[in-house]
Subunit: 338 residues, 3 copies
């Protein structure tokens, strides 16, 4: 059975990436995809391969909503229609695959499955991104040489922070009270650490208090979008909605063993502090690049081309949420395979 | 069916390369070949693999027409005969494969097929090389990670110049009148651009005229040697034989997805201008390295290990000459497979 | 048939490496192995893969005889027992594979086969290492991208020195009287060069004599440990035991085409000369890195994924000792396969 769902929205990238480079060229579940803006500013996505000599269209030029192949000049619109053939008539054979595309939550979403089922309402609700000014957001896109499911496991089991991020955010997750449950096909996991000594990264939020209540919740949406909320308040103080910082961790599979990892961190404080955003950007990137990513990539090398579940990994209580995710995915994959 | 003909002459390299390095070691259609000069100065070619422990002979030393294995000192002549064994008698088992080799047109040609059929008359006539002083020639050897057939297509369809080389030689090929035909197993394609605004690289040839007649002809010889003639004269002026610059584009397959690309550019003017040759060398190399090669290699990555023709590429009128080449090759490969 | 024996001791590394880095993580015959010191100082070896999420344990931390997985904090002793689970009870499923391990001759030896057969007496006797002060030893560990059997051949046929190391130790081996024989499953080869002009590296040992008697003996122990003794004395002088310098050349297979090459050079002179040891370290490393290794790796590339013996290499008299080794190995492999 495939490890990839097809009838889902995959994040192709951030709107900011599209506007900075004029295009996003990424392989998603094995398909080369090119995203660019139509003349009306909406995004379009086509297969990144010219039907003539199979050169990647992303090696060409984009202008006025048309991508022109850099090799022989065929032009295509975001709908996949050939709109320019310098060498003869435009025939139906020149039409290329296009994918339903939606820009929402400052991200570009593409649908590689059955287009008739591409309902934008199926995009997970990430309203917290829209509600936060861009100045209080940090978006990252980090290629990682590991199965996207290992990256999902990494977020669904935050106890790893106590070991992998011991000097920054770790130290409270093993002891925290944990729950996980399924709701409407989503998996929700929580970590509740009461009256704990806050790890270094949380200290400024509770200063001058020496003990904190730190609450974390992750909501997984199929196939691999996870919304993480966290708050730290002085021990005993009631948590208010404005205390919670929300972060998206979204894993778009590139291939069986590689993933595009997208993060959007938002915060309810220091809304206009560009310097803080820069610092946070660097800190988040470093935490992943220096700590998670090497471990995930070594884990992948250890697994090789096997499926980790075929290697009989031992399950621990901390895997409960990740196991719920696997079960949801297995049911969805089975349904799609029918 | 193999994609490689065996009973043909493949260019192993330029005479200049052989003399500069003392040897040419290249893999041709999957065979490691070592070319070096016999004691009488003629070139010989042997399999680049010692029969003793299979080390490449090219890692050894060549002197007086003998290549000595760098590992245990066995010596071989260009005929494949073992001529030195420091460790015992020379037995027939020590004889290695040698290939018919001809030096012609300032190039080294090897025959990897049935030696009985290795008729030097089958080498394509490149007399234009011999007739041009070396000071008016530029020879290049450029490894490229693409199927040799993609490199043949690239020359047989020069309309790509309008897109890939738009700022130097492009802009007239799409509009040019095109023909292609088969003659004696050769495929001849022409591009005739009359009364056109000459692209920058052609302007000096027609100066001070503002409009030009630019004529281009490519003659393909199996398996992959193409002779390109081009002339640019003021519009309306009759083209004279001395106006034509001839260039060889020869593609020697290394493997299914890699190619040795050999160019020899000759010119009928500035015969003794070394500085012009240097400039041209750089310009030709840059055009290929910066424009053709990245596109060809990305095209190959897009195709992967497939055969491009199995991926149903859409054919355009500009592919007419390349299609004729494919048909000639299919017939030759079928004949050889019998 | 496998090319690897399992019921043998493989050298995982040098004691010095273990103490310098706190661990040795190497793949041996395809198995990832982690060596570290137990609380009592003895070495232990376990599979380098956590049973929970299969991350390599070598990416974690070692303290007090326990390796702690860097991902989720499971702890294991050198016996393979899980001794720490921060997330729940320690179950038998958490036990990991451990390998019999012996520290002897300043090296760490592991046994990847049937533990019941792991008799330390089967480790080859390398008493010469123990009898030489460390100040008169040089130990090296050099990864090499070649089949371990090619590295064994390289030592069993020292005639290569005359060609590959012509300017340092070569020049006398081709002419030397050679013998080889099997004794108690060991293969012993000798090279006896009488009244010869000593190669540069041997000159200081016989100075001021201009002619030397140079004697070399290699004793192979299955699967790939070779002890090389060599002495150079003025021609005609009787060799004394104290004239002989002994060196271990031990090849631990990493994979079918890669090898961990371990050298321990000892000497009977300049016992306390650290500067000489440094010079020798550099000279030995350079000889291998610059001369043997490039040739062996090119030989491997020439052979590809084939077995060299399937490519019908021509055997010469100089291969006699290597052939005896192959026969011993074939018998041992056949016995183990039963």
């Amino acid at each position: 059975m495939s490890r990839f769902l097809k009838n889902v929205w995959y994040q192709a990238g951030w709107s900011r990436e599209l506007d900075d480079a004029g295009q996003i060229a990424r392989t998603i579940i094995g398909q080369p995809v090119l995203v660019f803006r139509n003349a009306d500013g909406t995004p379009g996505a086509v297969v990144d391969r010219c039907p003539h000599r199979l050169a990647p269209l992303s090696a060409g030029r984009i202008a006025d909503g048309v991508v022109t192949c850099g090799y022989h000049g065929l032009g295509f619109s975001g709908s996949g229609a050939c709109v320019r053939n310098p060498h003869g008539p435009i025939t139906s054979a020149l039409h290329i695959a296009a994918y339903p595309t939606v820009e929402r939550h400052r991200a570009i979403w593409v649908w590689l499955g059955d287009a008739a089922k591409a309902d934008p309402a199926l995009i997970p609700d990430l309203g917290f991104i829209d509600q936060t000014p861009e100045s209080a957001q940090v978006t990252l896109a980090m290629p990682t040489a590991a199965d996207y499911r290992l990256l999902v496991d990494n977020i669904m089991d935050l106890s790893h922070a106590d070991f992998l991020h011991a000097t920054t955010i770790g130290g409270i997750m093993v002891e925290a009270r944990k729950t996980s449950r399924v709701e409407d096909g989503k998996v929700i996991a929580t970590w509740d650490a009461r009256d704990c000594v806050p790890p270094p990264a949380f200290r400024p939020m509770v200063h001058p208090a020496e003990c904190a209540d730190i609450w974390t919740e992750v909501t997984w949406h199929a196939p691999a979008a996870m919304v993480l909320g966290t708050s730290a308040v002085p021990a005993g103080q009631t948590q208010a909605p404005g205390d919670i910082a929300w972060t998206l961790h979204n894993m778009t599979p590139e291939s069986a063993t590689t993933t595009h990892y997208f993060i959007c961190s938002t915060r309810p404080f220091l809304l206009d502090d560009a310097e803080f955003s820069q610092m946070l950007n660097k800190a988040l990137r470093q935490a992943f690049e220096d700590e998670d990513k090497p471990m995930l990539q070594r884990q992948q090398l250890s697994i090789g081309n096997n499926d980790i579940d075929d290697l009989n990994p031992v399950l621990l209580p901390i895997d409960a949420a990740a196991v719920r995710v696997r079960r949801q995915m297995a049911a969805l994959l089975a349904a799609e395979a029918q």
